[in-house]
């Protein structure tokens, strides 16, 4: 078992050795376009959210815009780098990334900074990193890798108990570290992603039932046993009734709703949102960036933002569906689940149908870690996409690279 993947990898590397450069037109341009648009929209929204916040920007209204543009640039670079990387290198580097993420999570617990009650930030020089963002990608890739490595050596395509348990193990380590921070939002997203990955892997239905049941059980236990304090439950449920935590999460919920509701159909106009300008919504450039879109761009603009996210997820799932590669399929599906749930969690929080937890909106919220993790994931999607295009041809003509589709 242990030798099979190595043989496979070596054969594959020979076949694809010609694909060292990036073919622009082969990229999923719809996905790329949506992501770039989201990123640019994010820059503008972050700018608008911080333009009057001298307390944050230190007097330079473009400070956050500049940083976020750099983040976007680096992210796009990372994305292209991953997209251009040879498929086998991706699979070789994946475990490294996983280990790095774990190391980052451990470091955070050891020497991280506490922001908003969670020890989630690593301050490296002037740079702040959030390893849990990267961990989400690492978990997806790790789980996909486990299934792929185990299935590709066998003649029968079946995800069994061992696979599921291995996948859960891969997920459990970072999950435990994230829970220790504690970062409930990331934990929720991670749980949903893991669930999605296992579902996408084709594991038997009973696993899904067990996992779902287990999740509900753990949640119920946490509440009943008193593991969660009342204030934590109130905080969590503040979205149903802001009065449960009026000065904390309830205030966020209420202000976010007011800002979004204030937008109406067409919004107050970019940079003209009264609530945004006045800084009523806390963390508006990061976790609550969607409220800027809601207030200033209205239903039309915010709906467009959701649409763009939908396009990203759609393309991710399309890539997952089209690839023959087990790794690619599971990874792409996992990324789609991750983006989908995180977007839902974040926007849901901004519109008051999900609890207030600190998760960023992919590609839009201010912050490097989230942007880099998201862009790396998109890079991986592009990589899988490119492989799907090249794979059938390379199987027939191992030494020659032929473009099948444009």
């Amino acid at each position: 078992m242990a030798t099979t993947p190595v043989t496979r990898t070596s054969t594959r590397s020979r076949r694809t050795s010609g694909a060292g450069w990036l073919a622009w037109r082969d990229l999923d341009l719809v996905l790329l376009g949506a992501v770039v648009l989201l990123g640019m929209l994010g820059c503008v929204l972050v700018w608008s959210a911080t333009i009057h916040r001298d307390d944050l920007t230190g007097g330079d209204p473009k400070a956050f815009l500049a940083k976020q543009v750099v983040n976007l640039g680096i992210g796009l670079g990372l994305m292209l780098a991953v997209a251009a990387t040879d498929h086998r290198w991706v699979r070789i580097l994946a475990p490294v990334a996983y280990v790095c993420a774990i190391a980052g999570l451990v470091l955070v617990l050891v020497m991280g900074s506490t922001v908003n009650g969670s020890r989630s930030w690593l301050m490296l020089g002037g740079l702040s990193l959030q390893p849990s963002e990267l961990a989400k990608l690492a978990v997806v890739v790790g789980m996909a890798l486990v299934v792929a490595e185990r299935s590709e050596g066998r003649w029968r395509d079946r995800v069994g108990t061992a696979d599921v348990l291995l996948m859960l193990t891969v997920a459990a380590v970072p999950a435990a570290l994230i829970l220790a921070q504690p970062d409930l939002g990331t934990m929720l997203v991670l749980s949903a992603t893991v669930f999605g990955v296992i579902a996408a892997s084709g594991a038997h239905r009973r696993w899904l039932v067990i996992l779902a049941g287990g999740g509900v059980g753990v949640a119920a236990f946490a509440v009943v046993s008193g593991f969660l304090e009342k204030y934590q439950i109130d905080r969590f449920l503040a979205f149903t009734d802001p009065g449960r935590d009026p000065k904390g999460a309830g205030y966020n919920v209420e202000q976010a709703r007011i800002a979004v509701g204030n937008g109406g159909l067409f919004g107050q106009g970019l940079f003209d949102g009264s609530q945004t300008n006045s800084g009523f919504v806390p963390e508006q450039h990061t976790d609550f960036v969607f409220t800027v879109a809601g207030e200033e761009l209205g239903l039309v603009g915010a709906g467009f933002l959701i649409l763009l996210l939908g396009i990203v997820i759609w393309r991710a799932l399309r890539i997952a569906a089209r690839t023959d590669d087990v790794f690619g399929r599971i990874a792409a599906a996992g990324i789609a689940c991750w983006f989908g749930f995180q977007a839902f969690q974040n926007i849901g929080m901004c519109v008051g149908i999900m609890p207030v937890t600190g998760v960023p909106l992919p590609f839009v919220s201010y912050g490097g870690s989230s942007m880099f993790a998201g862009m790396l994931a998109v890079g991986l999607l592009q990589n899988i996409h490119l492989r799907t295009l090249t794979a059938p041809a390379s199987r027939m003509q191992p030494a020659q690279r032929v473009l099948v589709r444009g």
């Binding site: 000065k247 009523f280 239903l299 399929r329 977007a343």
Partner: protein
């Protein structure tokens, strides 16, 4: 298992479709929710957004000025600092932040944090203390302190970060320039904050001229002409950020200043009248009452100068008085208590129109009018004996003087009581010797009512008392209302608390208090007994004697002028009624009252006064009040003016008031010794000006052109 070679793969692909459906339904949910928030309930959230990001700062209007007939400002405005706290922002603060802020604000403004907290409580909510709580809009900043130093205001305004939600602004409050040292507190009135009920009523009535921080007129012309003086508040809407700091203007609705009230008061005359009254009281207090052997208490007094032809008030004073400035910026409990305190003589009460006193002999001219139109004639001669026996008691003249058989004119001149006793008894015997007949005719009562006694004069000042004509009807009604009290007193054996007089009185009252006896009628005829009048009623009645019988509603207000100098409304004097008296009767009384000045009871105070040029008619009076020293009156008039002054517990009318009355007449006509200098009159042209002061477009006031001496 081998029959399904790619179970997982196929399942996986199927599941991708499920995941896709799931994810898209989640996104659709977001879209639906977004639609609900922004379109369906958007209006509600837009309202909330506006209310928290915009702060309405009420700009209180500059209240209208009150000026005298010459345009001299009697009440103006000055600026003072007001600090307010934004409740909305405070509510969002954590308790410890709030506590710290209140502490800091308290230190700067010298207030206890608890005190500030009490002011922030909305009226009508739990823990609200009346008079302290905030009855304005919960979205408006609540005023917590005013009248502090510039340095304090500067400190707060320059460190907004230390004082989030604290708004410091200038606001105008009343100022009293006191031209010629006048006080005029009762005339001008005062302001105090609007009450919740008044505010609710105004809101229900669509009145936007008041808000929670408004002050409204409570007395005097400030109350009467409040609607004119008030102006229209402005609303400055500013955008605020989440910390309550102002980040920009939103809109600005300018405040409309109130209109100027021109009064008929002449500040110079007012000053002379006030000083004269005060001086009279001080003199009386230094004088020993020959009857009681004590110094005169001279507890209160009033003086009025009225224009006889129009009923306009030229000056009106009341003692004891107070400084109207105590109301400015909120009165303290202690100050308020003093204003109502009986020990301090209830300074808030305007004696001129709210004080009710027995008129004494100043009543006699009206009795004369009644008598002369009902059977008596100028030729009537009655014996002015030193006493008259009525029932089983002797009723004496003042100092038991007797003058023999005299006419009405002489009786007025010497103020003969026994003469008028006989007049009163005559009508009592003629029409209603039955003491319990309520419907019995009484020409003297009818005459008094014709002269406006017993009902309000209708002056444009609030809270006027109506006085009382103690006739048969009143007597019965009074007996009914007091019967149980006095009968209860009489039924019990006499104890140490009730004096012999009171006990005897109670017994008599209980049994026959409803009866209008002969001596009641006699007493009525000399202005004694239970009949009381306000000094204003008396002045107006004398004005009717002067002007041929017209009963004016006295007026203080003369015109309303807009802030840009346009005359909006002229306040014309109104006739309340007319006393129909034959010219001969009026003339007879007029001549008789001239005699009072020339050789009667007023003569000794007018020695050397050029009565041939300024023909003062006068009548003095001193009314006896049970348990008190007598009330001194002087009512005087000529063709232009009526001047009345009275002092409670100050002895005889002329003795206590004569000098002050003379000084007023001297001032009005520019009398110096025995000569008259009309150009030295305090009022240009001697009579009050008919025209108004000249108002500039910018609201400046130019006095009517005159050659100032």
């Amino acid at each position: 298992m081998s029959a399904q070679p790619s179970t997982s793969s196929r399942r996986s692909r199927l599941r991708l479709i499920v995941i896709q459906a799931l994810v898209f339904s989640l996104l659709a949910t977001l879209g639906a929710r977004l639609y609900y928030l922004q379109v369906v309930t958007g209006e509600e959230y837009r309202g909330k957004a506006a209310s928290q990001s915009v702060r309405d700062i009420v700009v209180q209007p500059e209240r209208g000025l009150i000026v005298d007939a010459e345009g001299r400002p009697l009440v103006t405005n000055r600026l003072t600092w007001v600090a307010s706290l934004d409740r909305t922002l405070l509510g969002r603060m954590a308790p410890h932040q709030r506590h710290r802020l209140l502490g800091r604000v308290g230190r700067v403004l010298h207030l206890e944090p608890r005190e500030i907290a009490r002011k922030l409580v909305l009226c009508g909510t739990e823990g609200a203390k009346d008079g302290v709580c905030w009855n304005g809009s919960p979205y408006q900043p609540v005023p917590i302190a005013q009248g502090f130093k510039d340095a304090t205001a500067l400190r707060i305004n320059e460190q907004p970060e230390d004082f989030p939600g604290v708004v410091v602004q200038q606001q105008s409050v009343r100022a009293y320039p006191s031209p010629y040292g006048i006080n005029a507190a009762h005339l001008l009135g005062y302001l105090s904050p609007i009450t919740k009920d008044e505010l609710d009523a105004a809101e229900d009535g669509g009145d936007t001229s008041v808000n929670g921080a408004s002050v409204v007129g409570r007395a005097g012309v400030e109350k009467e002409y409040d609607a004119w003086l008030r102006g229209q508040p402005g609303y400055q809407r500013v955008k605020v950020n989440a910390n309550g700091e102002v980040i920009g203007e939103d809109s600005d609705l300018k405040a409309q200043p109130g209109d100027t009230l021109v009064t008929s008061i002449d500040a110079r005359v007012q000053g002379i009248v006030e000083r004269g009254l005060h001086q009279s009281i001080m003199t009386a207090r230094a004088t020993v009452d020959p009857v009681t052997g004590r110094h005169f208490a001279a507890d209160s007094g009033a003086a009025i100068v009225m224009e006889a032809k129009t009923g306009r008030i030229i000056a009106m004073a009341s003692e004891p008085t107070y400084d109207p400035d105590v109301w400015t910026g909120g009165i303290t409990q202690k100050q308020l208590k003093r204003l109502y305190s009986e020990a301090a003589g209830t300074p808030l009460l305007s004696r001129a129109l709210q004080g009710e006193f027995a008129p004494g002999s100043t009543w006699k001219p009206f009795m004369t009018a009644g008598a002369l139109t009902h059977g008596f004639s100028p030729d009537t001669i009655l014996n002015c004996s030193s006493s008259v026996r009525i029932g089983n008691r002797d009723f004496h003249n003042h100092e038991s003087a007797g003058y023999g058989p005299i006419s009405f004119a002489k009786a007025l001149e010497v103020s003969c009581n026994t003469f008028f006793f006989q007049v009163g008894m005559h009508f009592w015997l003629k029409y209603g010797s039955d003491p319990s007949d309520v419907k019995a005719k009484d020409p003297l009562v009818a005459e008094a009512e014709k002269f406006g006694f017993g009902s309000p004069t209708g002056i444009d000042l609030p809270g006027e008392a109506s006085g009382r004509v103690a006739d048969r009807k009143w007597r019965l009604a009074y007996w009914k209302s007091m019967k149980s009290y006095y009968c209860g007193l009489a039924d019990k054996p006499q104890d140490s608390k009730t004096s012999d007089f009171v006990y005897k009185f109670a017994r008599e009252f209980c049994l026959e208090g409803y009866m209008y006896r002969e001596y009641d009628a006699a007493n009525f005829a000399i202005g004694q007994g239970d009949t009381v009048v306000t000094p204003l009623q008396l002045a107006r009645a004398y004005a009717a004697l002067s002007n041929g019988g017209t009963l004016w509603e006295p007026r203080v207000g003369k015109a309303i002028v807009s802030p840009d100098g346009e005359v909006i409304h002229r306040i014309e004097p109104e006739k309340q009624g007319r006393v129909h008296l034959p010219a001969s009767v009026l003339h007879y009384i007029d001549e008789a009252l001239k005699g009072v000045s020339r050789e009667g009871t007023m003569y000794w105070k007018l020695i050397g006064f050029p009565l041939d040029r300024v023909q003062i008619r006068a009548k003095t009076g001193s009314a006896e009040v049970y348990g008190k020293q007598s009330t001194g009156w002087v009512a005087s008039y000529n063709e232009d003016y009526v001047v009345v002054q009275m002092i409670s517990q100050a002895g005889t009318g002329s003795g206590s008031n004569g000098d002050a009355i003379r000084k007023i007449w001297e001032a009005l006509y520019g009398v110096d010794g025995e000569t008259v200098h009309p150009n030295r009159s305090v009022i240009d042209g001697v009579t009050p000006p008919d025209h108004l002061p000249v108002f500039g477009r910018d609201g400046s006031i130019l006095p009517p052109a005159r050659e100032e001496d």
